[in-house]
Amino acid sequence: MDRAQGTRVGNRIIGAQSPVTVGWENIGKVEGGPVKKAFFTWFQPTVLIGLIVFWYYAPNSIATASTAIMIGIGFRLFLLGLEWVNPRHESWKLTWKELVTDLFFVGLGYTVLDTVEMYIGDDAIIEAVHNSFDWDKLQWFTGLPLLLQAFLISFIFDFGQYWMHRGMHNWYPLWLTHAPHHYITQLNINKGAVGNPVELFLIGLGIGGFFDFLPRAALLAGTLGLAVGTYQHINVRFNTPRWWRFVFNTTEHHSVHHSQDFEASRSNYAGTWIIIDRIFGTCVDGEAELLGMEGGRRMTIRETLVYPFTEAWKTLRERFGRPQASAVPAE
C-alpha cells in the first residue's frame, strides 16, 4: 500500500490521508501455537451457532430477557479478557481511564437514556401511531419460521440503522450528534456506547415494534447483535472465516470506518450485516490502526456531551449572527 497515494477502491482513493490496509490478503493473521490459532479461528462461529441453538431450544422458563441480559454481561466480560490475551493492536490496549470513560457512557444508556426513551423513544412513537390509526399489527409475521423471523427483525433494524448512520455522515445536523463517537482513537468492547446521547438515541430507533413476533425470535435476533455486532468495537485479532466477513460486520471493517482517513470513514456503515454495505457499494474490506479525528485528538467526556450543541451554536452564529467588528488600527 502506498501511504501517500492510498489505494483505489471503486471510484474512491482510500488511505491517502492516513494509513489503511485494503484487502483481506494484506491483513495480519493470529500468531502463535496451533491451539491458539484454532481457538481464534473457530471462536466466533462456534459461539454464534451455540447461542442460536441455545435460544432455539431453551425451555420457555429460561428463554427470557433476564437470561439474555446475564449472557450479554458474561459474554462482554469474557471478551474483555480476550482483549487482554490476544490484542489486535498494543496501542488499543484498554487502560483504566478508558474503561471508566466507556462505562460512564454505558451507564448513561442504561439509566437516563432509558428513562427518556420511555417517553419519546421508538416504542412510544409506535404506540402513538397504533393508537392514532388503529393499525392492526402485522400478525402474519408470527407464522414465519423462528429463524426467518429473527433474521428479519435483525436485518430490518440494521437496514434502518445503516441509513441513519449514513445520513449522519452526510447531513451536517445529524453529523454533529455522531461526530463525538469518531473521536475515539481505539476500539474496545464498550466503545460503541461512547458518543453523544442524542446520537445513541437516534441510532436506537427502529420499526420492530410494528411487528408482532415470537419472544423467542426477538431473543434470537438479539443474539445476532451480541455474537456479531459486538465485534465491531473489539481489540482482538481473529482469523474470521471468509463467509463471515462477507456477510457480517467485523472489527476490521469498523476500524476502517473509524480511520483518520476521511474517505475510509465514509464506508462500512452497517452494524451487524456488512452485506448491506456491499449492496449499496459502501463496503471497504480492510483495517486501520490509526483512528480518530483531528489527527487523533481525544475528546473529553464533557466535550462529548456538549459538542452537538456548542458546534450548532457556533455554526448558527457564523451564519446568522451580526458580523464582528474587525480590529482596524487607528490611523
Binding site: A58, W96, L103, G107, T115, Q139, G143, T185, L290
Partner: protein
C-alpha cells in the same frame, strides 16, 4: 477552603529513588520521552519539572494525569524523585457514584410525580395478555415443530395466577403485592454507582502503582525502549 485535606481524592503522590550518582539533569533527560507527546507542556527548572496535559490520547502513557510536579530531593543517603500528580478522571470517578445515585433519585421522583394510573396499568396488562394470547394461539411453523422448538406458553388464567400466588405465600417467598415498582427502574443506576465506587478504589491503587513503575523503569533503564509516544507504532 483548604483543599489539601481532601485533594488526595484526585492527587497521586509518591517517590522513586534515583540510581546512585544520577544527576537531576540526567534523571529528567531519562523521563523526557514521557513529556514529548501531543498536547503536553513541560518546564524544567533545576531540580523541578512541572507539566500540564490536555485531550490526552489513550496511547499516552501518562493519560490519566492532567498535570503535576516532579521534584528531585537529596539528603546524605542519596537522591529521590518525589512526584505530585493530579487527575480529573480520578475526581470524576470518585463523584460518578453520586451522579448515578442522583439518576436513581430522578427515577424515583418520576415514579412519584408521574405514576401510571390504575386504568393505564390495567390497559397495559390487558394489551400484553392479549398479545401473548394471540401469539400462543398461532401454531409454530411446521419447520420449527419438526425441529422441536418449544411452543410459546399460553398466558395463565386468573385462577392459575391466584393459585401460584397462594403457593408462594405458603412457602414464605417474597411476593410483590404491587407487581413491580412504580415508574422507571432504579436498579441500573444503583449497579453503576457501585461499579464506579469499585473502579475508583482500583484506579487509585493501580494508577499510583503504574506511574511509580514507569518512572522507575525510565530512571533505572529497566525498559530497553523508552516509551511515551502518543502515537501507536
Amino acid at each position: 477552603m483548604d483543599w489539601r485535606a481532601i485533594d488526595w481524592i484526585w492527587h497521586i503522590r509518591g517517590s522513586v529513588p534515583l540510581p546512585p550518582g544520577q544527576s537531576s539533569h540526567e534523571a529528567f533527560d531519562r523521563l523526557d520521552p514521557l513529556f514529548r507527546v501531543r498536547d503536553t507542556y513541560h518546564d524544567r527548572r533545576g531540580d523541578e519539572l512541572t507539566f500540564s496535559k490536555s485531550n490526552q490520547a489513550p496511547q499516552d502513557k501518562m493519560a490519566t494525569f492532567d498535570g503535576g510536579t516532579l521534584r528531585i530531593e537529596r539528603d546524605g543517603t542519596g537522591a529521590v524523585l518525589r512526584f505530585d500528580l493530579h487527575s480529573r478522571i480520578l475526581l470524576f470517578c470518585f463523584l460518578a457514584p453520586l451522579l448515578f445515585l442522583a439518576f436513581a433519585g430522578l427515577n424515583i421522583a418520576i415514579g412519584v410525580l408521574d405514576p401510571p394510573t390504575a386504568a393505564e396499568k390495567a390497559e397495559a396488562k390487558k394489551k400484553q395478555e392479549e398479545r401473548m394470547k394471540r401469539i400462543a394461539e398461532q401454531p409454530l411453523h411446521p419447520i420449527d415443530q419438526f425441529l422441536g422448538a418449544p411452543a410459546p406458553e399460553k398466558p395463565k388464567s386468573e385462577e392459575e395466577k391466584a393459585r401460584e400466588k397462594a403457593e408462594k405465600k405458603g412457602k414464605s417467598e417474597d411476593v410483590d403485592e404491587d407487581e413491580g415498582e412504580e415508574g422507571p427502574s432504579t436498579t441500573p443506576a444503583y449497579v453503576f454507582a457501585g461499579i464506579f465506587a469499585a473502579l475508583y478504589l482500583v484506579g487509585r491503587i493501580l494508577e499510583k502503582w503504574l506511574i511509580t513503575k514507569r518512572f522507575r523503569q525510565h530512571l533505572w533503564d529497566e525498559e530497553p525502549a523508552l516509551d511515551g509516544g502518543a502515537k501507536p507504532a
